[in-house]
Structures are given as structure tokens and as C-alpha cells.
């Protein structure tokens, strides 16, 4: 996993509440058996005016010019500013894969759906929760000045803005450590193999049926 320490980047808007993972990456792209290559189809239904297909050449497709991410001023953005309950709906990890593949390293919103949030951490994408007021303030600043950028410091747990006070944020300490060090949590869990085996022994006494192979 790509480590995340300090990141500075251009901010782009996704200015609506309850953005679901179907909207982030529509289902036809879930047919892929890979983890990468989803970036060109991030927000596909909003970015283009037609219906996208997997493995299609997107260069000839009609562009939705009303969609902010298509505006030149947000070209190269790496921080996504969003509203309440971002990432709700389907558990598809293709959503953070698409965001990362597109170039986002961080999403800032007043709240995130649970499964999406944990999927982000597994992919080096930092979900930051700020208050509704703080997020609104950032939206205003972003709309007001082209090229609006932020610096996200995971060590210090704050969002830095030019010429104004830092905005501190909370983050799960385990997830933070994994992100800062780019750690694979399977490796971490396997260090507890003995504890898992010991648990299994007593669990087997309590519920032996759990351990029977489901023969098909």
C-alpha cells in the first residue's frame, strides 16, 4: 500500500450529499477482475453523456461540461471535497480504487459511510471528516479561487490552508499507523496467529459445526 504522510494538492468539488458507490463507479465496470484501470470511469454517469462500457476508448465519448471534474480548473486535482454520507451504498472497493486510480489521495467530507471509509484506508486514500461548517467554508473558498489547494498532514492530523488556521481532524490510530507506514494489515494480523489458534480451540468446543467443511 502507498504510504500517506503529508500531501498537498488541488481541490475539486463533489457538491452533493449521499454520493453512493454506484455513482462513484457504475456496475458495468465491476466486471473487471483487476484492481487498477478504473480511473477513466470514475463518476462515469456524470462525466460523460452516454453510457460507458468496460475496456472502451473514452476519447470519443460526449463529455458532460456541467460536471465540475471536467472543468480545466480542476485538472490534476488530488483532494476531493464532498458532502454528507459520502460513499454510501454498495461495499464495492472499486470505488476507492477508482478514486485512487484517477489521482485522488484524500476525500474531505462531513461524514462517510462505514464500509467505504474502511475501504479507503486499505488503499492509501485518506478520508477526512470535518464539521459541516468547515466543509462548507472550504467549498466557498474553493469556488472563490481558482487553483485552490490544501495540504493534508497525517502526522499532525490537520488540514492546512494558506493564510488561515489549520483544521485538525480525528483519525483511528491503527489506520493512521498503517497509512503512515504503508503497512499491509494482513501481515500485522498474522503476527497474532497463535492467539487466533488458541481462540479457535475453545470456539471449536463451543460451536463444532462451524469447523465442518461445507461439502458441495
Amino acid at each position: 500500500m502507498q504510504a500517506f504522510t503529508v500531501h498537498s494538492g488541488l481541490v475539486a468539488p463533489m457538491d452533493r450529499a449521499n454520493v453512493d458507490t454506484d455513482l462513484i463507479i457504475p456496475k458495468q465496470f465491476l466486471k473487471s477482475i483487476k484492481r487498477s484501470g478504473f480511473g477513466p470511469n470514475l463518476f462515469d454517469d456524470l462525466r460523460y453523456l452516454d453510457e460507458g462500457q468496460p475496456d472502451q476508448d473514452n476519447s470519443g465519448r460526449p463529455i458532460n461540461n456541467d460536471f465540475p471534474l471536467n472543468a480545466p480548473r480542476y485538472n490534476g486535482a488530488s483532494i476531493l471535497l464532498a458532502r454528507e454520507n459520502f460513499g454510501c451504498g454498495s461495499s464495492r472497493e472499486h470505488a476507492p480504487w477508482a478514486l485512487v486510480d484517477y489521482g485522488f489521495r484524500c476525500v474531505i467530507a462531513p461524514s462517510f459511510a462505514d464500509i467505504f471509509r474502511s475501504n479507503c484506508f486499505k488503499n492509501g486514500l485518506l478520508p477526512i471528516e470535518l464539521s459541516t461548517e468547515q466543509v462548507s467554508e472550504l467549498f466557498d473558498l474553493m469556488y472563490a479561487s481558482e487553483g485552490f489547494s490544501l495540504t493534508v498532514d497525517l502526522h499532525q492530523q490537520c488540514v492546512r490552508r494558506p493564510g488561515a488556521q489549520d483544521m485538525p481532524f480525528e483519525v483511528d490510530s491503527f489506520r493512521r499507523d498503517c497509512l503512515l507506514n504503508g503497512l499491509d494489515d494482513i501481515g500485522i494480523t498474522l503476527k497474532s496467529s497463535e492467539a487466533i489458534r488458541a481462540f479457535e480451540e475453545q470456539h471449536r468446543q463451543r460451536a463444532p459445526w462451524v469447523f465442518e467443511l461445507l461439502e458441495v
Partner: protein, 475 residues
Amino acid sequence: MGNTLYDKLWDAHLVEQRDDGTALIYIDRQLLHEVTSPQAFEGLRLAGRQPWRLSANIAVPDHNVSTMAAERAAGLSALADPVSRIQLQTLDDNCADFQIPEIPLDDERQGIVHVMGPEQGATLPGMTIVCGDSHTSTHGALGALAHGIGTSEVEHVLATGCLIQRKMKNMRVTVDGGLGMGVTAKDIALAIIGELGTAGGTGYAIEFAGEAIKDLTLEGRMTLCNMAIEAGARAGLVAVDEVTLNYVKDKPYAPRGAQWSQAETLWSALKSDQDAVFDAEVVLAAASIEPQVTWGTSPEMVTSIGGRVPVLEDMKTDTQRNSLARALDYMGLEPGMAITDIRPDVIFIGSCTNSRIEDMRAAAAIVEGRRVAPTIKQALVVPGSGLVKAAAEREGLDKIFMAAGMEWREPGCSMCLAMNADKLAPGERCASTSNRNFEGRQGFGGRTHLVSPAMAAAAAITGHFVDVRTMGGQD
């Protein structure tokens, strides 16, 4: 202070509590399907890892399968869409390589993963159950701790038998009293989501309790827990009682003999203590719940059949006004219009929410002896599994649907997420028994209204949403 059902399930699977607040939770059962597993198996392969415990797993293809009998009979190699074919083949290959038990596509037990699991007794009370699918909350109806996970977590569970979790908070939603005639578990689910909002349950495990829940069949409880995620809660739960035990007994993978007695004792304790304290409590009166219809692009955008689409003046904040305006524009609806004036083009009866035998029966009871309205372009009935299909055919339900002008299909997720050929065309409006009405969910530009099977069937007959209680056919 007593423990909640969720506390008990958590404690019984706690391997390690860490100082940072995270915990290692043991996973009894992982369900796998073709869409969210390929990258997890690839991860194992790249790291040279093997599954921790083969007996934890069972796989079944469902999301991306054809529901056409002829296409199914021709086998995987004949599947028209090459991308889907590779994905389905990859599941077969991965299961063969890692020796994961898999119910193949041509097996009668094949079905939507959340229908197959309980039906086979692969998911049981007291278990921790995960699947790379958010509607894993369904299995909480059995008194199990079940929730959806992402693909990296699928890989983590495959490799370690455990999941890294932070304990959720406890919420109880009590539905007091008895339900009115023609009102179903789906209506309870939608009414609760209307009350809580789609993020109201975020961070919670929701236990559903009260007389109306006790009165539900296990299938109805599954419909309800299925939609807990639509209220933001990863897990929904119902306490174990006679209904649960009667349902589980004699299921193919359920314990038998002496093990059954041991299980019965263990499972009978799976309920919240009298003095358990919940972090949040919500109470609804069953009598106030009427048949529900969603009008917008989020399950919380819901009202009862006698209701109207909201007007902008009803909304309190700018974000709400924007959401409403966008939803009405997408859905092609006028503010303030009566729900009964909305006319679907397509009917979809299926999905892990409502594709069990009871759902088939409820829909057939409305349809029997009637014809689908001429304005309906397509009416699909997709049973949740091969076993549901067979049971329905034994009862002659397939004939009732077909005589009415509906299509009777092979089991799968179908138009719930429209990954296969079953999808809406842009602008088409669907009365659907599935669980999500998001933009584009059932097809690019498609418009979804979530309803119960009986309500979908009633709309099929009249050509517009109608109060099912005026249609007869239910008792």
C-alpha cells in the same frame, strides 16, 4: 448492566482487543461471489498465502449471471458477454485453485448469495458472517453478526480467519403492535429508513425488536435486516426465538443430532438482556406503517402509498433542497404529485431483499387471474435461488405469472444491479422489490421506485402505483 445481542456476539468472537481500540474478530463464515473476490484471490497469490481455514468459506456466482434459461443451459462458455464470462470463470478457477467449496452455476442450489446462505444452513445463528457485499446484513435475521466488507477485507479474512474491527454502537429499533393487512417487512424497512435517514444508522449495529418483528417469518426478518445497510448500519439483528430455530432445523448444513441440541442451547441465549442499554432507541407503531413507495434517488426518499412527492418548500436546508431538485429532475416527477399517479414502465420482482418463496407467493396472490397492464413494457420475476424457483413451480406460481404476461427467469441478482442483460433503458421507470433506487442503479438513466412484492404486482396490473389493500388477494 446487561448485554445486547450484538455485545454477546462480539464477545463470543473476540480474539484480541488492542490498545488502540481495534479488535481482532474471528469470522465463522465467509460467502464469496464473482464480483468482489477476484482481486482478493489475486492478493493471496501475489503474497504466496493460503486460506486460513477452508471450512469457513462457500462461494456461489450470482451478481453477473444470465437469467435467461437458454443462455444458462448453454453453459458458461456460451455466455455472450466476454467480460462477464471471464469474471465467472475466474471464480470457478480461484475456487478450484484454493479448494474453496463452490456451488456452481448449473446447480439447483445456486442463487443470490444471501438467499443461498440461510437456505443451505451455511449461515447459522450465533455466527460471524462476512461477504464482499453490503447486503450481508440479511443474515442478521438469524441472530448472527453479519456484515458487508470490501475486497481487501475479503482477502484479509481469507488469509487470517479474522477481521480487524472497531466495536459498533448499539441501536434498537422497536416496532410495537401488529402490522395492518397488506403491510409487509419491506414496508417496515422502508418506513424505518424514512425515519432514520440513509445515514441514521452509521456506526451502529441495529437490533430490530418488538411485537411486529416477533410476528414476522424468518424470511420477513431477512427482508428487514437486508435493508439495515440502507439506513447506514453495517449490521441488522433479530434475537433468536422459536421462529429462528424452526427455520434452521434440518437445513442441509445445519447441525444434527447431539450437535443440534448443543446448538439449540447456545443459540437460545442469543437475545439482548432485559437490562441491556442501547446507545440509541427508536420506536415505531406498526399500525402507523402503510405500504411504502420511494419517489427519489435514495431509499430515505420514501412515503406511503397515499402520500405525495414533496415540494421544495418542505425542505429545511440548501443541501436538502438541492437533493430534492436533483432527484425530481432525475426521476422525471413533479413536486406535489400523488404517488398513485406515477406509472412504471417495468416491474422487477426479485433481489436478495424480496426473492424468497414468500415473496413469490405474495406477488402471485395479487396477479392471479389478472393481466399485466398494456402500458407495462416488461415484468420480470426472478426467484432468489434454484430451490425457490423449484418450490414456486411446484405451487404453480410460475404459471400464474406467465399467464398474467410476466417473465419467469432463472435465479440471480438480475435487475437489482443490472450487471447482466436485465436492465432499464434511459428514462424507464421501474417498480422494483430490490433495495437501492440510486441513479443508474438498474441501468443508465433508469428510474427506480422501491416497493414490496405485493405492491410491485399491484402496479403491474393497474399500470400505476396503487394501494395493494384495495386489490384483494391477501389474507
